[in-house]
Symmetry: C2
Amino acid sequence: MSERIYTAGLVVIGDEILSGRTHDKNIAQVASWLQVQGIRLAEVRVVPDVIERIVEAVNALREANDYVFTTGGIGPTHDDITVDAVAKALGVPVIVHPKARAILETYYADKGGLTDARLRMARVPEGAELIANRMSGAPGIRIANVHLMAGVPHITAGMLDALTGTLKGGKPLISETVGCWTPESEVADILRQVEQAHASCQIGSYPFFRDGRVGANFVVRSTDEGELKSCVDSLCDGLASAGFEFTPGGI
Amino acid sequence: MSERIYTAGLVVIGDEILSGRTHDKNIAQVASWLQVQGIRLAEVRVVPDVIERIVEAVNALREANDYVFTTGGIGPTHDDITVDAVAKALGVPVIVHPKARAILETYYADKGGLTDARLRMARVPEGAELIANRMSGAPGIRIANVHLMAGVPHITAGMLDALTGTLKGGKPLISETVGCWTPESEVADILRQVEQAHASCQIGSYPFFRDGRVGANFVVRSTDEGELKSCVDSLCDGLASAGFEFTPGGI
């Protein structure tokens, strides 16, 4: 009985990420949110503010996944070209969305009115719906399986919140962590054996160096709570039998 | 006189990034390092611990760029499959590198010796050279234009340090920032006009919300110092003429 797995791709748009100037926070936030929706983030592409590069990434990821999300490039300035790129990717024209225009008119009523630049934020690929943005005026945009969100992380967070529960997903992937103050190379055999014995679980090993000591966290993932528990138990038994001390919940 | 632009692609390998569990730090660190080498980061792909997905990303990015970097998946555990994936992408077998083996034998001499799991870290695609790792035993790997680096950020940093100055690059992209405590929508026209008047410069606009106020930083980028200065001067003049206060250096 194999379960349908829902996947998503994320396109992070912005020269500021590729230059190293801005540290991306959206990958982790979108990834964590998707987990709760029962959707697996299958790939992320970070691309520059160049129409053709955005079109290419959006098309590759929307064909390979159930959903695509984009972050960045939906503001009022000349470098905000995500709407144009997604419209091109989908082969539809760009129009001004009447409701987006109304939202912006209200939002900017006491802030100098709706200038041409601000009106850019009402532009959408034809056929799109809006994603509510409680943080600032400009809405996010949803068209087909593509979701266009802001680049500023707390605005993105608000848009994700507005989308919560609206996307069809599978069973969420759940995880449990076990930590060890030991080099992962010493427990590599145990990890491999335990994973092989539990086909529906994956074990990731994440080494770290902290306070001058070496350790690793082992993250067991599954969509099945019972299988997850059984795998974690086997892992703890294996570590204990071999004489390793471990910390349930991770270090 | 158009200058050769050198580009790189980065493949970030790891389920832990795609699950949202780990916040990636390597994109920003590799991006910043590349800037100094005169190499532009053209695309990043984050892919799961699945051989075929790594192969696909490495092949796509090595064909489109002068250099490719990978982070993650070169440790001793069963989920460390980057070496196998890159070997497959390049169509070469995986071998044990004699020097890598010797390094690991020395490193683990007083730590329980070179187990099978640890020996995994001496495996390289045939024809590869090593990248020094002063932080821990296992070296990075360089083959053709592909550079395999650690996932743990401070080990990656050490490997980048070892590579500094060894890659051919162009003129580094330099940048200057001007900040304004004003919504970017109010200065969008000025930004567009100034950018259009300075063909060799790009201006990125990065809005923020801080201390309850709205502002934006405008980052002007160019490989030419004179053009950069001229563009920044025009931008400041434009902002001043329109009555906006601005902060050279950014906010």
